[in-house]
Symmetry: C4
Subunit: 326 residues, 4 copies
């Protein structure tokens, strides 16, 4: 496994990491989580991504139980969680969801620690921006959580460059812990934010990236070329919002053209897609998901393709996907 | 229920809220508190106002016991308390009452937490200004209480605009938690402070308001038009200081003229008075009191009138009360 | 009793207070401490002075036991202690005595809290300056002890004006808790430091004073006019360093001349001496000692004389003591 | 014993101190540690040097057990530890070794406290620089550990002057606890860093030095003049990296020439070498090691030679070692 610094921080994370979105509790129980995390760990993965909102808190519970069973030394792994959506999406959003105010954040992180059964979370993220809370209030709460020892580093997810910079500058001016990482969606069909909007933040702020959805929710595995297969994510009821994107004709056509390139490099479509994200040196870790160990191992195989992404290959990939990425 | 931000903070509070002044312990026991708080909560109220001095600490005890019985998720409600008067008004005022010094504040908040049986109070207020303690000492103690996790936000009650600004500027300069809210008396006969004295603070400091006495101690219910009725607040011995104001002839005459306006809008006098306060967008929450559930429900009905307060209606109300408000 | 602010702080202390130097443990056991503290408290005294070094820690132990027996509300009294000498004067001074370094201060205050059986000490003092520790290190440790909740305010004892100002400025610049009080020796024969050296500090820094030795170790009671009486402090072996001062002929002659003035004002020599200190508005509290309740009550009687110290009387007192004070 | 301030700090340490590198656990068990620490303590040594990495944590365990048996008052001794290498040198270095990132430091110090069985460590050091962690992250973590009460002072070991200054300036600017000490190798054959590179730091930053290897790993005892004796450090397998230096012909020749100088001063070669380090007033403490009490006592005898190091003697020593020191 390759390890990279989380932005300019001193924390080292595996270039590929394991996320629990969608899968934990929904598709994966504690036994399966133990099996997959063990396989990942044995392959050198040390970064395990989670969020309060995944499966209404069950994802943190499952991962916490798995960690206790696995019994790894605490220094050997990095656990993260993210806050904004709340545990329960029903009812009106008053302090308990869709917010980054102090009340919510302080209580939400306490809840995570309890579900995980951990003393601290390595990296806590603001899962989305909250236009109704001053960035100062949010940045200060994140700092205070670190000062209290409940977290070690903090970051954002899907924030605008302007908001990230505002948080960083406020923290720098007040002597607070600064955000060190942003977690954006990033794959062959979603590039603008990482490549253009954030361009100045890498050097100016030392921002690191942990990216999600390297396979574009499965689109880049090629399995949606013939429509939505039964049992796939696109077929899940609560994932309906993804369906249109997954069956986009032009994108699926491009995916078809990527397949021979992947084969040429000795890998699968999915491996090519993951390797393409990992190839970007601004990316600290590519978060991948898996519901079976075989899938996880296939994902990990992507690292072998990274160095085969020569300028010439990248240029061919760009040609195929041109005009299709936002 | 409508929710509003507590000033520029990210905390969201119900536009109408429930206060325990006068009523808890004196008129309301735990059973009644449970009943009324449940009714308020079901109607969307999430802000419950209290103070150390109310009924000599009994009001916090009663609310604490009620909260334990109700068992709401902690994120779903906001509890406040206020500090200055002390628990016991007798004897000389040396550090234990009429002060905002560090010794008093640190110990007073600890006492509140014990009476409430809570880990933290959402908003702590300085109940009055203390000319004998530097604002720096008070602001720093309030900040330290938040840093220690005993409170989430802090504010003032009945402070001058100059003192609020001094506290805010000191906190801003030192990087302390800033005051986010002021709790002034505000009703149709008491308007100057909110509308004139504080005018610049809303934008400059992002100050929010939680207001008390929307019914002018009952004057705006119309019940004092014929003198002080037995069993009313004006008849309580320890409320003697209110009596003159409540029986003021000109004001009771104006109240009589407001009644048809209220009726026209489809509400009672009391509802009109509460709606008038809630109509001011600077007000984050109108604190109302009730000793019976019916009264509480009647108060909550005021929200329906807010949008009926057209410029024309407001102008008529202003005409009736002109010259009578301080 | 009259109460005064401790300098510019909001803490209110009795103008006369009770110190435990010399007496506790050596001359006073827990029973006697309880009796005297109760008498003082009943007379309005709320400030009880102590130090780690008094009787090698026994003075704090005795006062702590007395406080538990008396069971006063914690808000009603102010307990202080002072740090520098250490618990044990024997052997070499390496971190455990004659120092104000971080190691000593952090551990010394923890020891005091244990001996007192208290959660916090109201005011902690640096008992002497330490030229071998940077003022920055000392000021920061004092601040940190307050931030940790182990103390509420801090001050110095017998520091030079320059050192007090240095500590205050460092604290102000770094946003630390500033020293609010100095504890100097101050009586009719020892005036220069309070009246001249500190002159600018009262307004510039808001410095308060708690003063010790109002009776000049007994010289101002008149009892040393005929030599050192058996059983007096001057006769105690470990107080030998006081003997020459106590038997100074010119000073005892002046004391003789003060006696008729005291009698004229309706008090004793000792009461005049205490009243003279209390008359200085820069003095927050005059620390007095007593080994018997009668003596304590006599001391408290001094407050009645304060207002009788007219300019004319003060001028006569100055005439008598002229040239004898340092 | 002579005591010196740890740089400009107020902490006083013995000019000679006892380190546990190499010896504890490997050559010294708890019984022997107790015996040697007692002998050192009786001779006035108050500084006991350790590191997380020594014997994979066993050195801290042994010293902790010895301290519990010895039962000294906590104020009477200074315990240190150092962090960077980690507990286990095997496998890949990801957060658990070769780092000064926040994750590692927070957990490593907690581990030390547990192994020592102490509430705090007096001085914590960064054992080496870490080019892959921002100095800001490291300096802040060290500050936070002090703020949390887990340590009292912090320093560095084998950092460049530029890095020490960067850490100090960052801490000064942010109001963090500043590094007060550096622990470099320093002996007759290794002088440049202490004498030239750090030259400006002593006055500018008040930097203190605790130095290691006064005997150049034994070279300055003369025992390597005839090759590597069995049972010596140079013969230990895990010390192979020292062997070439220890058998350097020119250096061993110089050692031979130092012997008569040592004899002239009434000491051994080793005592001369230790005295030479202690003679430098920038050195706060010379850390010496010993596996037997006799050796320890011999080392302590070096203090008698310090004052015999006249300018003339020092000049002769310089003549002998000229050109051989780096």
């Amino acid at each position: 496994m390759q390890y990279r610094r989380l932005g300019r921080s001193g924390l080292r994370v595996s270039a590929l990491s394991l996320g629990s979105w969608v899968t934990y509790h929904n598709q994966v129980d504690v036994d399966a989580a133990v099996e997959m995390m063990a396989a990942a760990y044995d392959a050198g993965v040390n970064f395990f991504d989670n969020a309060e909102a995944y499966a209404g808190g069950q994802s943190e519970l499952v991962m916490g139980q798995a960690l206790r069973r696995l019994g790894w030394p605490r220094l050997n792994y990095v656990v993260t969680s993210k806050y904004f959506w709340g545990l329960d999406r029903s009812g009106e959003a008053v302090n308990r969801k869709d917010t980054l105010n102090r009340k919510y954040l302080m209580q939400a992180v306490d809840g995570s620690l309890q579900r995980f059964g951990l003393d601290f979370i390595d990296v806590i993220y603001c899962h989305r921006p909250d236009p109704n809370t001053p960035i100062e209030e949010t940045a200060r709460a994140m700092n205070d959580l670190i000062v209290q020892g409940k977290a070690l580093y903090w970051g954002t997810s899907e924030w605008s460059a302007a908001d990230i910079r505002a948080a960083w500058e406020l923290a720098d001016r007040h002597g607070w812990h600064k955000p060190v990482v942003e977690q954006p969606q990033y794959h062959l069909f979603h590039r603008r934010r990482v490549e253009q909007e954030y361009a100045r933040l890498y050097e100016d702020l030392g921002l690191g990236l942990t990216t999600w959805s390297p396979l574009a929710s499965g689109l880049l595995t090629g399995k949606y070329r013939g429509g939505v297969p039964a049992g796939s994510r696109g077929a899940m009821e609560n994932m309906a919002f993804l369906r249109d994107g997954l069956t986009d004709a032009a994108k699926n056509e491009a995916v078809a053209k990527l397949e021979p390139i992947a084969a040429e490099l000795g890998g699968t479509l999915a491996q090519l897609a993951i390797a393409w994200v990992a190839h970007n040196p601004r990316v600290s870790s590519v978060i991948t998901g898996a519901s079976r160990v075989e899938q996880l191992k296939a994902n990990l195989g992507a690292m072998a393709l990274v160095e085969r992404l020569t300028p010439e290959v990248l240029s061919r990939i760009n040609g195929v996907t041109q005009g299709l990425a936002d």
